[in-house]
Subunit: 335 residues, 2 copies
DNA sequence: AGTTGCCTTGAAACCGGTTTCACGATAGAG
DNA sequence: CTCTATCGTGAAACCGGTTTCAAGGCAACT
C-alpha cells in the first residue's frame, strides 16, 4: 500500500535513467537486460512502490491475467467447496478468478458469460451449469475453457467430473451388502444430470442384486433439507415400507433424518441412511452420517491447474477423482 | 457469444458512419447524440455483437468496474453466506467482484490487497480480517472501502457488523430464563474479536442474573466441529457440572451435541444447547438447533450496496442488522 | 583491419477505449 | 437580419503498459 497518484512505468524509467521499454523488459523478463540497469530498475521499483496497472497490461499485451469462473448456487456446500478449491489452485499462478453466479438458469448463465468475455478473461472455468453443448463448443473456440462437475461429450480433456453412476451404484451396493432391499431413493431435481446418473447407479445395483425395482420408493424432490423431510413424510403417509434411504445429498439426508426421528424411527437401528457429498457437518451429525465423499476441493484445484496449463498450451493430465464411501454410523445391518 | 477477433468501437463507428467519439458517447450516455445516429450506432452494435473491452475502458476512464473483496475462510458457512450476499448485492450494478482469500493471516491479507490494488479495483470490501487499523486508514484514503463483519473504531459509516456482545448476552439470557445457571461457554478462538465480545455478553448476562462466574465452564477452542467434541469431553472428564452450553457457532454446537450423545446425555432433556450463526443445517439437526441467527446474506448485500454508493459519492444509510434468537428445540426448561 | 553477427537498448507504434477541444450548424435573442 | 449561446460532432491527445523495429556497441571471425 503506497502513495496516491499511482507510480507508472515511466516514473521508474526516469528514476532509473532508462527507457520505458527496458523497465517493461525487466518486468517481464522477456529479453536480457544489462545487470546494472536491471538492478537500478528493481531498486527504483522498490523505492517508488510500483504496482503495474493491469488494465494497461491487459490492453497492450492481450492478457488480462483474469479467469472467469461461473458458479452455481453460491452458498451450497458442494459448490462452495469447489470454488474454494479453485481459489486455492490459482494461488501463486498470477491469475485471479472473477466469479459470476449462474443460478442454474440458462439465461443467467449466458448473460454472465457475456460479461466475463467483456472483461477479456484469459480463460473460462464453468462449474456445472446448463449451457447447451453447441454454445460450449463455440465458446471453446474463442477461449480456453474447462468444465468441472459436469460431463460434456466430446470434452474429455477439458472436463473434470466424477462418475456419478458408479457412485450411486456403490452407495446402493453398500446398503444392499448390509441386507437392505427396500431402499428409498431421494432423487434430487428431476432434470439434474447428477440426479439422473445416480439414479442409474441405484437401479443397476438393484438389478444386479436381483432386487425388484419399486417406483414407490423413488421420491422426486430437490437438494434441500426440506425436501428430505417431505420425502420421508410422503413415504410414511403413503404407508410405503422401507428400511434404508439413499439421499440426494447430505442436506437432504439431514432433513430425512429429522423427519424420521419425528416419526419415532431411529437411525440406524430402524432405518439406515446414506448421504452424498460429505460436507463438513456430516461427520458431526447424530449419528455421524455415512455418505459418498465427493472430492470437491480437489476437483476445484485440479480444474484451476488444468485451466492455467491449457492457457499456456502446456500438457496436463486430468486425474480421475474418485468418490469414496465414507463409512460412519448411519448404516446398520438389517436384522 | 460472438465471432472471433473482437469487435471494437472503431468497427461500430465505421459501420454506423460516425466517429469513435460518437459511439463512445452513446455507449456512456455522456452527451446528447442525434437520434438518428444513436439508433444507427445501436443497430451496428447489435449486428456486430459488440462487447466493450473493459481493460481499455478502465485504462482510459480510470474506472475498472471491479470491486475487490477480501474474504476469510472460503468454505465456512458464515463467510460464504456473506460472499453470497455481496454477489447478490452487486448484481445489476455493473460492478463485478473479484475475490481474494486472506485466510485470517495478516501477511496474506496485505499481499492480497496489494494485488487488488494492482488490478485497480474501484473499491474494496473487506470481510473480517486482521489488517491493523492504521493500514486500513491509509487504505481508506486511496480507495472507497467498506468493512463488514468487523468493528473498526472511527469507521462508523463504513463498517457493517452486528452487536456481538448484545448477541452473547441474549443467548445467555435465554438459557438463564429457562432456569440454567451452570452454562458452559465454548468460546472460539482466543483473539477473535467476535469470540471476545460474545464472551463479554455472556459475562454480563451472568452478572446481571447474580450468577457466579466460573472459569471452569469456559472452554477455549476454535470454530470447528472437532472443537465442540473436545470441549464436551474435557468438561465431562474434568467432572464439571453443567446443564447448558452456549457454543461459539453452529458447527461447534454440532460437535458438542455429538459428544454429548456419545456420553449418553440427551439434548435438550439433559443439556440445553445454543449455537451461533443459524447455518442452513441447523434447522435440520436433531433436535433442530436453537441458535443466534446472523443476517449474513443481508450484511453482504448491504455492504455491497453501500460500497457502490460510496464510490458514486451518494448518500447511504447503514441499516443496523440485528442478530436474533432463533428458537428451536435444543433448549429446555431446567427441571 | 574490415566484416559479420549477436546483444542491448531506445523510439515509436499500438491496444481500445474516454475526454478535451475546437469548429460548424442551428436556434434564440436583440 | 446580425450576434451570440447552445448543441452535436469529429480530430486528436491520452491512459500505461507491450512489442516491433532499427540502430549502436562490441566481440569474434576471416
Amino acid at each position: 500500500m503506497q502513495q496516491k497518484g499511482e507510480t507508472t512505468i515511466q516514473d521508474i524509467a526516469d528514476h532509473a535513467q532508462v527507457s520505458k521499454s527496458t523497465v517493461s523488459r525487466v518486468l517481464n523478463k522477456s529479453t536480457a537486460v544489462n545487470k546494472d540497469k536491471r538492478t537500478a530498475v528493481l531498486a527504483a521499483m522498490k523505492t517508488l512502490g510500483f504496482e503495474p496497472n493491469l488494465a494497461a497490461r491487459s490492453l497492450a499485451g492481450g492478457r488480462s491475467m483474469t479467469l472467469g469462473v461461473l458458479t452455481q448456487n453460491i452458498g451450497s456446500p458442494f459448490y462452495d467447496a469447489l470454488a474454494q478449491g479453485v481459489i486455492h489452485g490459482l494461488a501463486g499462478s498470477g491469475y485471479s478468478p472473477i466469479f459470476v453466479d449462474g443460478q442454474w438458469q440458462q439465461s443467467t448463465e449466458i448473460e454472465s458469460i457475456r460479461t466475463l468475455i467483456g472483461r477479456r478473461v484469459d480463460g473460462l472455468l464453468l462449474i456445472g451449469g446448463d449451457v447447451p453443448v453447441e454454445q460450449l463448443n463455440q465458446l471453446r473456440e474463442r477461449l480456453p475453457t474447462i468444465v468441472v462437475a459436469r460431463e460434456v461429450v466430446g470434452w474429455e480433456n477439458q472436463c473434470i467430473h466424477v462418475d456419478n453412476v458408479q457412485a450411486g451404484y456403490e452407495a446402493t451396493k453398500h446398503l444392499i451388502d448390509f441386507g437392505h432391499q427396500r431402499i428409498a431413493l431421494l432423487r434430487g431435481i428431476k432434470e439434474h444430470p447428477d440426479a439422473i446418473q445416480r439414479f442409474e447407479g441405484y437401479a443397476k445395483a438393484l438389478t444386479e442384486a436381483g432386487i425388484e425395482f419399486d417406483t414407490d420408493l423413488i421420491y422426486q424432490g430437490d437438494f434441500s433439507g426440506q425436501s428430505g423431510v417431505m420425502a420421508v413424510n410422503s413415504l410414511i403417509s403413503r404407508g410405503i415400507h422401507f428400511t434404508a434411504i439413499f439421499a440426494a445429498n447430505d442436506m437432504v439426508a439431514f432433513g430425512a433424518r429429522l423427519a424420521l426421528s419425528r416419526h419415532g424411527m431411529r437411525v440406524p437401528e430402524d432405518i439406515s441412511l446414506v448421504g452424498f457429498d460429505d460436507q463438513a457437518e456430516s461427520a458431526f451429525a447424530t449419528p455421524p452420517l455415512t455418505t459418498m465423499k465427493q472430492p470437491a476441493v480437489e476437483m476445484g484445484t485440479a480444474a484451476a491447474n488444468a485451466l492455467v496449463k491449457l492457457i499456456h498450451d502446456e500438457q496436463y493430465e486430468l486425474a480421475s477423482l474418485p468418490v469414496e464411501l465414507q463409512r460412519r454410523e448411519s448404516v446398520a445391518r438389517l436384522r
